[in-house]
């Protein structure tokens, strides 16, 4: 079974599902980063990963080399991916500014220290 799976992987063109799998892995890794890292910047990197995982799906759905008659986004896919990238950059800038502020105020970047909102 594994052999035929690998064979398929090698001989058949990848599909949306494969891209989605990679995206899922990146997404989960990112989410886990956000969940486990105590370093604010680590959390930020997690966010970046999550966004990329999502982006990968958009690209996959937008690409016609992976299309097998399933639901397609067409050009919207790449456009949305573009917007995601740009906004992610913006988000990174703001998040970094916040992190910097946090560091200035608490002189620490341990997100566990940032729990004034605790109920």
């Amino acid at each position: 079974m594994t052999t035929s799976l690998l064979a398929n992987l090698l001989t058949e063109p990848p599909g949306v599902a494969h891209y989605m799998t990679v995206g899922a892995v990146m997404f989960v890794c990112g989410a886990m980063c956000m969940a486990t890292k105590r370093n604010a910047l680590g959390v930020l990197m997690g966010i970046e990963l999550v966004l990329n995982g999502a982006n990968l799906n958009f690209i996959a759905f937008g690409s016609k080399y992976l299309d097998n008659g399933g639901p397609q986004l067409g050009l919207d896919g790449s456009l949305i991916a573009l917007f995601v990238i740009v906004l992610a950059a913006a988000e990174a800038a703001v998040a970094l500014a916040i992190a910097l502020n946090f560091y200035n105020n608490h002189d620490s970047i341990d997100v566990d220290r940032a729990d004034q909102l605790q109920g």
């Binding site: 486990t36 566990d112 940032a114 605790q118 109920g119």
Partner: protein
Amino acid sequence: MDLTPATALPKLLAAAWLLPLASFVVILFVGKRLGPHGKWAGYVAVGAIVSAFLLSCVAMFVVWLPNHELPVTHHGEHHEEGDEHDDAPADDDHQHGTAAILQDSPLTARAGHDSPFQLAAFQEGEAHADEHAAEAGHAANPPPTYYFGDWYSLGQFGNLKLTIGYYIDALTVTMFCMVTLIASCVHIYALGYMHDELHDPYHDHEVIVHGHHLSRPGRFHRFFQYLSLFCFSMLGIVIAGNVAMVFVFWELVGICSYFLIGFYFERHSASTAANKAFIVNRVGDFGMLIGMMALWASLGTFAFGDKQDAKGQTVLTESGAIAEPGIFSQLRTAENGYRLVPPASMIAEERRHQPALEANEETLSHTHGHWLLLVAGVGIFCGCVGKSAQFPLHVWLPDAMEGPTPVSALVHSATMVAAGVYLVGRFYPAFCPEALLVIAIIGCITLSLAATIAITATDIKRVLAYSTVSQLGYMMLALGLGGWIAGLFHLITHAFFKSLLFMCSGSVIHAVHTNDMTEMGGLRKKMPITAYTMLIGCLAIIGAGVPLTPIGFSGYFSKDSIIEQAWSHAQTNGGVYWVFLAMAVIGASMTAFYMFRLWFMTFTGAPRDHHKYDHAHESPRVMTGPLVLLAIFAIAVAWPAFRLTGLLEQAQPVGTAAGGSGMLIEDLVVPAEHLSHAPDIKLRAGLAAFSSAFIGVFGAAVVYLWGYLNPKEIKQTFKPIYTLLWNKWYFDQLYNVLFIRPALFIGRQIAAFDRGVIDWFLHSCAWTVRLFSMVFDVVFDRTLVDGTVNTAANWTWDFGLLLRRFQTGSLRQYVLFIVMGTWFMCLAYFAAAFVLMS
């Protein structure tokens, strides 16, 4: 612009009417910032009123006079009358009206015995036999031309229609000219008189606050603001097209007088005087309301005139009847020959009570309708009593002296008190002879009463005030005796010379800073212009003139015509009615006495208070200018050449000139007005008036000019009378005992009742409720409601505590929650999808 009266007059007069309002609004909002201490506010108001005067003049001389030919007046020589009747207008319904008058005028009905009309005819001799028709001809004056319409309808409730409308006839235009002219003079005069108010702060020397003179910011602009509103209101009354509108502006005038009389409201006397004027007027207005209700309930309309189309023609229905008849044409229909006959709507009640008599109208006694008319007339007259300070309600006017003198001038001459007389004149067609009798009685009492009081008064303005009251009494008397033209004639002439007199006194006060004549004297040399203009005023008011010739001051013509009217009335009715004549004549002499007493005491003789005398000075030109102007008018306004009476005759309500006979009091006859021009009456009346005036002047001169008699000794001799008069017949005290004390007493009783009974009841109710609510509180609120709410709150609290645990504030756990939440959601979604699939 087209100058056809129907279109031009409403526009012009509306503009003249609204200009003061505009200036009022302007001053109200930006008055304080107009120039230093609001100096320019005065100029705004003056500009407004003067332009209003110019507009009125345009209305009068450009629009009215060219379009309406003046009838030839009868106030000149009587023998013109013969060759006069042919130029009486000769249209059909007028002939019909004539016929009607002939067959059922009270005169012809009682022809044969002492009808002054026949008597006059006989004296003229048989040659004038055909004068019957002629006499009757202009005895039955034609329906006056008027322009009636609505500018704006405030609303219609059922058939109650409230509109801002106009009723414009010769009287309206004349009043407009008169009011705006005098108001203009007063405004200009006030510019000078009120200049103290420009000082900031203004020191009021009559008010002491903690041992110092009160000093307050000047109220120059406010004064002119009130003046403008005052003029606006008065003009509103004059132009009003229906009773409701009249009432509205009536009240406006009242409030304005309240403001102005209480202008120095820091002075206790001023504020009380203002209150007095206001309250006393309310009493009269109450009666007026009753009259209005009576009229409206029976006639169903407030409008004076009939509905007119754009060209000023009365709108008729197909059947030829008047489409929307006003009050007057309902009361005096052409079918009844313009006699005052209660219309069917007034008799309806009675008809319901006498169904048997349903069949024939003639057998109806109509007493019900007559009473209704009486109530309406007397009711309306009550309002006039209040405004014009007639006998029971005259007490407010003298106290109104507390206001600044220009205000007094305005109130006493042109605006407020004139409003009452004007309303009587306007409503004249609705007054049945009994109502007229009441008016006459009231007027008679008022004039004698006020004259007597005026004799003893020493306050210069007070004297003038009482003279105003008595002059108003004269007017009312004239109107009550059937002299419509005479009354309004006197109203206009009096307006001029009385405002002149007041301004002169104001000028004097301005100079010597006191009202007390006993501190004046010899001011003639100091202030000649004032002195001689005032002399002119006095001569005008006593009606000085060469008897039996059309030469004299304005008062001469008007007062003589009043006395003539009284004479003819007395002749017609005889008996007790001679009292009216006597009172009129005696009042005339008293008028002459106190007027010249005033003048002598003020301007002649040796100065009584040297300090004040030295301090005295002639007033500035802005004050003397109006005096001169008014003096000219006081002299000349009534000269026959100017045909003022003819103008008034144009407006004389149809049918009123023919007089009428009492309906409830059978033997009461109101003589036709032209009968007062009978030569013998003119002769006697003229002589009586002259001699009485002469006696008055002579007496005054004897006492105060030549000093043959010492006033003090006279006082000593007639001490009781003097004290009686000095205390104004104890009217204030009387009212105090009659009304105020009882009112206070009742009030106290009611208050006691209130506290003792009502409050007790309420308190007990409250206590009960409180008790109940306490029980309710414990039983229901605390347990049930609070229980529910608290349980809910507790649940929320607990839930919040539960949620609080999740709100860890730790970013990473939030992420975890999100992840797991997403996971569960998707799982649920897939599960649901799976279930639905299978």
